[in-house]
Amino acid sequence: MQLLSTLTTLGLLTPPEGAELVALVPGAIVTLVAVVFILLDVFHNKGTSREYQAYFAAIGLVLTAASCWYLWDMGLERPVFFGMLYLDRYSLFFSGLACASAALMILASPAFLRSHQMDRGEYYLLILISVAGMIFMVQAADLLTMFIAFEVMSIPLYVLASFLRKDSRSAEAGMKYFILGAFSAALMLYGIALIYGATGTTNLEYIRENLFFLSAAGASHGAFGMVMIGVLLILSGLAFKVAAFPFHIWAPDVYTGSPTPSVGFMATAVKVVGFATMIRVFSVAFPLEVLRGGFFGWGWIDVAFVFAIGSMLLGNLVAVTQDNVKRMLAYYGIAHAGYLSIGFVAANSHPSFFLHNDAILYSLTAYTVALVGAFGVLSYFGRRGEAVETYADLGQLGIKYPKMGMIMTICVLSLAGVPPTGGFLAKFYIFRTGVDVGVQTGEMAFIYMVIVGVIGSVIGAYYYLKVIVYMYMKPALREVRPLATKGKLWALGACAAATLYLGVFPAKPIDVCRSAIMSMSGVPAEVQATIDRGQMELDRRLQVDED
């Protein structure tokens, strides 16, 4: 009875409707799996393999992804939990993608960890918690939720980076990641503080409303500087996570030192979520009409412009000089952040281009599966002390392990943007966005950006070919003992298959991306008009198709 009355009081205290609890479902499933996992780990039989734990975690993640799929049509057209979270297809899409990346990388991990004598359940647990953070981060409707989720995502990653306790390089990677991550998080927090000061709220939609209010009150000149510093610091914090120039600097070192399977997770899921949050926060909260500034007078779009050009140039050019494959992939990741920034800049430069954001979603998907595959193959050959890391180590692997060779080839071709893989279409789609916006606005800057991107992808072909050249055409340096497990093989096969699927049958995935971006909650009214137009067009075309 006592309990019942307490619950009633709680019910009074928590006005959210029952329907709103649905918003918690994906995050709750992951968290629940994580909690059960702790119990599982406690009852683990010492000395036996922990592979089943990997399967357990992967199944949990797949369940989460399935719940995302199930919830796909259940959009709540408003922020829930007092404006803390959104539940829309947009967040479900990214939650699903993060789960997929994590599940695939978890399946690729057990043998690697065993060979490094770090076969610990905590590894999977940390990934699960990180995924939970990611899910809440893409759902965030408030800078506070966003920040806490950001930390929930990051702290397990810092630990994962230094997970290989016997390896001093791993320790160093963790330390560097932590210092730089905490530093940039602090910068971002300061930005949030300034935004809070200027607008009096941390809710994304209210920030936008109040910024308009500010500018209408003629206060733009007094408050402008503070708001702008805040916006840029938030942008830099997110840019740090996606490893965009000039905040990319941590990526190569951390990727090189961290355990290979977890790098696959860091490089993909974090980038996915970082971009998702970037699009949401910036398109919802910071109206370009108010925040003018910079070279083109577009405010933070100008900054993203610098990210795009700088990342593509630096990432591609430096990747050419690398001989460590992991490091090359890290620099490619930087370059890829640049490609995505093209889409980000182009699609968000004006409300009427908002739907072009689907190029980013598609590109992130293609990038995720391909990069997970590539890191998976590297971890397949990642036995402790004999890890395949440089190009020369790859010698003849494609011939000796034809399956791995084929997976790596497909993934690498996708990353290099060769048809018919998903990577080709992704780049194509992104470039098209840039050109389209450039043509429609008559602004040559977009076109130049695309030209830099295309040149970058030409350079990119060079270092990716090197992987194939070494795998098939160079002599083997030494005997390699692979870390084969069934789960890993399936996971990597799935990556390669998905890469091909995205390239060959992209209609469905693009539809999914498009409906994800169309249903993004919290978009301002002028963007909503674009979305409605797009929806109408889509309906009309579907109608025509049926006739």
């Binding site: 810092y158 320790a171 963790g174 560097k176 932590f178 602090a186 300061y190 503080a193 070192d253």
Partner: protein, 103 residues
């Protein structure tokens, strides 16, 4: 600037401490002090939040500061674990000694 503290006083103080913390992160080679500097940065952010909250008559800033404290505690725990970990490998905690990964 008057003698009487206003919002601007608190904010400038916060910015100053933030800067000091930031410079500390950048120049102190001892990892522990480096993390202390990060704590300083977080604290100054808290000060900003609380000052803003007060002069807006709003409690959201307090809540935010409260969460930042929780985050700071979590970060500190992980940070010190990492320091310990690095110390076991390098027998030192100077961050500029960690240059194995480069180029």
């Amino acid at each position: 600037m008057s003698w009487e503290p206003t919002l601007a006083h608190y904010l400038i103080l916060s910015a100053a401490v933030f800067t000091i913390g930031m410079v500390g992160v950048l120049v102190r080679r001892n990892a522990i002090i480096l993390f202390m500097s990060i704590e300083l940065m977080l604290n100054s952010v808290n000060l900003s939040f609380i000052a803003f909250a007060r002069y807006r008559v709003d409690l959201d800033g307090h809540i935010f500061a409260f969460f930042i404290m929780a985050v700071a505690a979590a970060e500190a725990a992980v940070a010190l674990a990492i320091v310990l970990h690095v110390f076991r490998h390098k027998r030192g905690i100077e961050v500029d000694e960690m240059q194995e990964l480069k180029h």
